[in-house]
Symmetry: C2
Subunit: 343 residues, 2 copies
């Protein structure tokens, strides 16, 4: 038997004032007698009053809720993004409605509609569907996350700084004596592949290495995709120590497994650099050296951009957050002890 929740009218009656006055006191307005305010506040505490956000949202047009639509909360990167968004939202006393789209355009659209029905004040989305080009007509302030956001011209977005990340990785590789890494990248259709490849090529030119001499293997962005790509790579004629820069930690770990499968050793025979910074990289043997995307910061920043968007401060910009290197043990140091090349 759940009893009725106290409303502002209950508070007003108990304090012996009108509900307008009670509302003013609760809202902390200034044109009110101190004594009255205190009486109202005391009454509110006494009856256990708690503001009904549904009613507030209805009256003010602001629900105090934000939507978050990401592919899979189970994926460590997206969990990290969610965590950042959650924390930043909680700070601002805003609730987050979370949905997982599973990379399924149909689910994405249905979740977006659910968000609109729930009257969220705005939404943070990792867009999977191209069909969202009518995003501005959707009637919601949006902030997009990820490189796929670049398809949408006029919408704010937050992502990781691929260029900086690749530069960081390549510089680190050079410092360890690896000058022209083999690349394991994603499938042809994906925008992220192009972004990654472009960044590597641009940086290679700066370092005076011909991008054309870079070996590239591709595969799905999965453990198996990385494993298969590595296996193909190991089937090629070899000329000594192999250094692999994978576009994704899962692929990097898959590559590591392929190396072991072939009776080779990492980092002695093959050096591997990953990209993502998933926690699992700390548990592989050897530990995976990788470039970590700032998932948490991205999530937090997305919430902030969304606030701007909602307040009508449309800076409409793309924000790229810097990545950082996690140096573990999957890279051989060829610079110090120039070992004899196997092959």
């Amino acid at each position: 038997m759940r009893k009725r929740r106290p409303t502002i009218i209950d508070v007003a009656e108990r304090a012996g004032v009108s509900k307008s006055t009670a509302a003013r006191a609760l809202a902390g307005a200034e044109s009110i007698l101190d004594e009255t305010r205190e009486r109202v506040l005391a009454a509110a505490k006494a009856v256990g009053y708690e503001r009904n956000h549904l009613a507030v949202g209805m009256r003010s047009g602001r629900s105090g809720m934000l939507g978050l639509v990401i592919p899979d909360i189970t994926n460590p990167f997206w969990a990290d993004v969610a965590r950042g968004a959650l924390d930043r939202a909680a700070e601002a006393d805003v609730s987050l409605l979370v949905f997982s789209s599973d990379w399924d355009p149909a689910k994405e659209e249905s979740h977006l509609r659910a968000l609109r029905r729930a009257r969220v004040d705005g939404a943070i989305v990792n867009p999977v569907s191209d069909a969202l080009d009518d995003l501005d007509k959707f009637g919601l302030p949006f902030v997009l996350i990820g490189s796929s956001a670049e398809r949408f011209a006029d919408v704010s977005s937050v992502g990781s700084d691929i260029t900086q990340a690749v530069e960081l990785g390549l510089d680190h590789l050079v410092s360890k004596g690896h000058h022209a890494p083999t690349l394991i990248v994603g499938p042809k259709s994906r925008l992220a592949r192009t972004r990654f490849l472009n960044a590597v090529q641009r940086h290679s030119i700066k370092r005076d290495v011909d991008p054309a001499q870079l070996i590239v293997e591709d595969g799905e962005y999965t453990l198996e995709g990385g494993r298969l790509a590595m296996l193909r790579l190991l089937d090629r004629p070899r000329l000594g120590h192999i250094c692999v820069f994978a576009a994704n930690d899962m692929m990097a770990i898959g590559a590591m497994m392929a190396v072991r499968e072939r009776g080779l050793r990492c980092p002695e025979d093959v050096s591997i650099l990953g990209f993502d910074g998933i926690p699992s990289g700390a548990f592989t043997f050897p530990g995976l050296t990788t470039i970590a995307k700032p998932g948490r910061d991205i999530g937090a920043r997305a919430v902030e951009s969304l606030f701007d968007e909602i307040e009508g401060r449309p800076e409409h910009g793309r924000v790229y957050m810097p990545c950082r290197l996690i140096d573990r043990a999957s890279l051989a140091d060829l610079s110090r002890e120039p070992r004899k090349l196997a092959g």
Copy 2:
């Protein structure tokens, strides 16, 4: 410039009926002329009408939203739980407000209050604070998750079946020739430790092994905790192959690292069985054999129990979901090839 969203009145006007009739048509009531209904539906589609859930919630007292408060969405187990809850809720066209408590009672309480203000219909919580004993007075239907839920007598809860899980693990150990595993468990204060220990002891007696002869090490539920415990274990006088049953995958992986650190090998010198089923276990070398908790099922089931609770079908039960064994490579098979014991 965002324009006003169409309301049911806009629909009614366009269809040339009253808003009552429009509401009836939209709700799919039966006492209405087919022709009228179709006219209203067409009008709704034409103006792009979408029901305002805030208003519905306010009128009906049901917001169509559920709360989920878990320690950390970044923790793979909790992410899995969240995913299950998210999917089940989406199926029922219900939205989920997600919060992370970070094992902090203050945050937990503040989030719970936020949930109440948002007028969610119910909440799923992994209780961290003991101070929640006035849970029934809180004014929200609750379903609790995890073994800590047992402190609360009259509240429904969902968790994993520790007894069954331990039995599964112990049986598997026996089938591989390990009869009295060493236990690495959590710190003394934790309820989960007792549950785990009890289950092991009960099952040992059934198998005619004296629980008193079981070696127990404890530590924090972390990588480092497991590593330290294993190190202590390896410092003891050894008598051959060591078999470890860790109460937690992170500890198991930490133990694996300690083994490598001491120049020993897993599974040749030390067998390790984990408990949790986190994805990282697939990437260790060797792959971690472990018992997987059904996080996703737990989340889904919690949502279902919460629906029951809300509908006033208070079965008020504890549900224990079965775990399953993931057999990878961290266990030596002592039964087939009885190897010479090192020591």
